[in-house]
Symmetry: C2
Subunit: 430 residues, 2 copies
């Protein structure tokens, strides 16, 4: 587990030890500890206020910030980490073929991520430097806010391996996803050379993190698209109630628990024996932006809704069962129901780790709410997991009448950053 | 103050007393108390879980829901109410000229709003009715979530007064806003016959409320546009720290306090002596979607940023002063700074009540974050308040280099709903 709570100072010390000097919007990470006088600690001194979400703020208002998720570890945080409440997901495209620039970017991003996930400003001089004649190293809007369980998780898309001489390093498992029945993908909401998943309990903290990484990346990467999400729809914490998606149903009940090492090893983490050594300890991410036709759904009878999903709406129990976590018995469900089709028994045991978020992006030209599920699935090999699962769902799921896949991407998420000398992608590029 | 806490049952009883029968997606509000067996109380029984934002959930997990803001009162809630953390704002256009249909819609919306702001389902049969052969009266995604300080505030736009024989009732103060220098308004993010502002501490609760009102309005209104917001940028609570906007600055320091009856009476609430009697106790809302060019801003020196705003970035103090709430002394500021231009002394005492939210709507074609401030201003007369203030800012504010107004609307928000027999707009349409 990478979620053990450690103090901010210890984290910052480790981050500072990996000092690098970066051009193109970067900065020197020259000190081994943040200087309180420069406000590098976001909640230091007079700036300390309650977080936007009360509980976290109270928690962090005195003493060490207890809303910090450890950044360093064998695996990247943000995968098995208990799902936070908010998401800002960004896909970037490389604007250079200079491998050295890519390495400098990833080193600078790693250093900034180590700082921000610890509740500090993106750069050691903070948002309010005493020398005012330059742009600050941090944009400032998270000043006073605690870490809010921020995690930052990076993945490399197929496009990255077309550049910087990386073609031969592309994992075979990082396939170009096939066209699935019913796909209506918007290229402006799909793909990207590098993805960054920011999850936090405070949206301002997640947005701040993506924005500061984009700022640091100026000249090396440009943002291709980004997506905000709220209301996590999956839980990786078995004790927690499963949240409801915008169809009003509990979704993701049988998710892999972030504490289940065996399941994670079998289904999520790339193993040293798998075919791409540099991915050992990493995972493959598939993101799908699934637009829900909520107006049509809302005019459907409760009976029909429940048959389409295969669960009772109130309790979340599989139809024919009583409680949410009762086993699914496929014989009691319509064979084209979502649960019957998606459950491991119908798919040769396929299991993926899901971290989905609801989204609402205003409304469309027809006055329909532009809403849905931003589906994030982590897995050991998409060829054996997401692809066959989605082939099955796309062909047979009666829910398809109410959904449309409007965005898509696949990324190879490298292993975790183990300490302040390590950086995202070192195993690939170092 | 309309924020006194009252029990859910008392609210629901009052709501139920105003029973109406509505067509076009509506429902009968036939019972005077919700029936626990139907789950009309969202957190009843087995469905009771912690809210998405922990504090509220713990708060509501036992006994009466203490996150309820009173719906009934002389003024609509959501104006002087302490600013909640999240926003879903929707603008609807009428699709009929049938005045009776409009009245039935407003009565049905009022009943549903009374229920939802009390933490109940939108309709008395709830999300999980025992009769499953019809669509449920509630879409279900807020089941188990507490009220989360939800407020719903309605306003009537100029377009409404072109229909249903209402032309002569249009308030003179409900002007068509003039074109301001630099306006780049998107008609798909502007105007609307009826606006609904949903504010809550949980985005799922705000989204649920707008969606259910849209569902009830099917056939009478269609959604024209909607906007999500997070990270309130203004506080109407003097004791609270002023939140930061996406420029990283504290914004809205000198806002009207929701507890300051004198200021509210002078600047916010329409008086019986004003020219439109049916608006007595109401207020005029101007919304402006202000896109911020954050990438350009982030490359500006701290000195320049502070001079443009007229405040110190760390403390939020006016330049030349020490503390955030120190008085602004115009002589110490650049005359074209935002604070110098916006302060009441520079505008003949003009004061407005602001409830702004930050937004991030993905990124644009150039890879820039599509972010900014959704500015909501309440006032007694826009002709004397927002219009001259914005004329001054649009012509002179150096901040205009970094912002662009991309959406706009003006609405007459009627007085509050006083009890279960009353309804939104009764003074206009009853």
């Amino acid at each position: 587990m990478s979620e053990r709570r450690i103090t901010r100072r210890r984290l910052l010390g480790a981050a500072g030890a990996g000092a690098v000097l970066v051009g193109g919007g970067g900065y020197a990470l020259a000190r081994s500890n943040p200087d309180p006088a420069t406000g590098a600690d976001r909640t230091a001194g007079a700036d300390r206020v309650a977080g936007v979400d009360g509980a976290a703020g109270v928690d962090g208002a005195a003493g060490p910030d207890r809303t910090v998720v450890a950044f360093y570890g064998t695996h990247q945080a943000g995968i098995a980490t208990p799902v936070q409440d908010r998401l800002h997901f960004a896909a970037f495209d490389l604007t250079t073929d200079d491998r050295g620039a890519l390495v400098r970017l990833l080193r600078a991003w790693t250093a900034a991520a180590a700082r921000m996930t610890a509740g500090a400003f993106a750069g050691p001089d903070g948002a309010f430097p005493t020398v005012v004649q330059a742009p600050p190293q941090d944009t400032g809007e998270a000043a006073g806010l605690v870490a809010s369980r921020l995690t930052l998780t990076v993945g490399f898309g197929p496009g990255l391996f077309e550049r910087c001489g990386l073609r031969s390093a592309r994992p075979a498992a990082l396939v170009d996803l096939p066209h699935f029945a019913g796909d209506a993908l918007d290229p402006n909401r799909s793909h990207g050379d590098i993805a960054v998943q920011a999850c936090a309990d405070d949206p301002q903290v997640a947005v701040h993190a993506i924005r500061n990484l984009a700022r640091i990346g100026f000249g090396v990467v440009g943002m291709r698209w980004s997506q905000l999400g709220f209301g996590k729809t999956s839980s990786t914490t078995p004790a927690e109630q499963t949240p409801r998606n915008l169809f009003g149903f509990k979704d993701g009940t049988n998710n892999i628990a972030g504490t289940d090492r065996d399941q994670l090893a079998r289904h999520v983490w790339v193993d040293a024996a798998d075919e791409t050594p540099w991915m050992t300890g990493g995972s493959y991410l598939v993101a799908r932006r699934i637009t829900m036709r909520v107006e049509t759904w809302d005019r459907t009878s409760l009976a029909e809704q429940q048959q389409i999903i295969g669960r009772d709406k109130r309790e979340g129990a599989p139809l024919g069962a009583t409680h949410e976590r009762d086993p699914v018995s496929a014989g009691r469900l319509r064979p084209d129901s979502h649960v019957a089709l998606a459950q491991p028994d119908s798919n040769g045991g396929i299991t993926i780790l899901r971290r989905g978020y609801s989204f609402v992006d205003g409304s469309d030209d027809l006055g329909r709410i532009n809403a849905g599920l931003f589906f994030l699935a982590y897995q050991r090999d998409p060829r054996a997991q997401f692809v066959p699962l989605q082939e099955n769902l796309a062909a047979n799921d009666t829910m398809n009448e109410y959904i449309r896949h409007t965005g898509s991407g696949i990324w190879a998420c490298p292993p975790g950053v183990v300490d302040g000398n390590d950086w995202w992608g070192r195993a690939l590029l170092g």
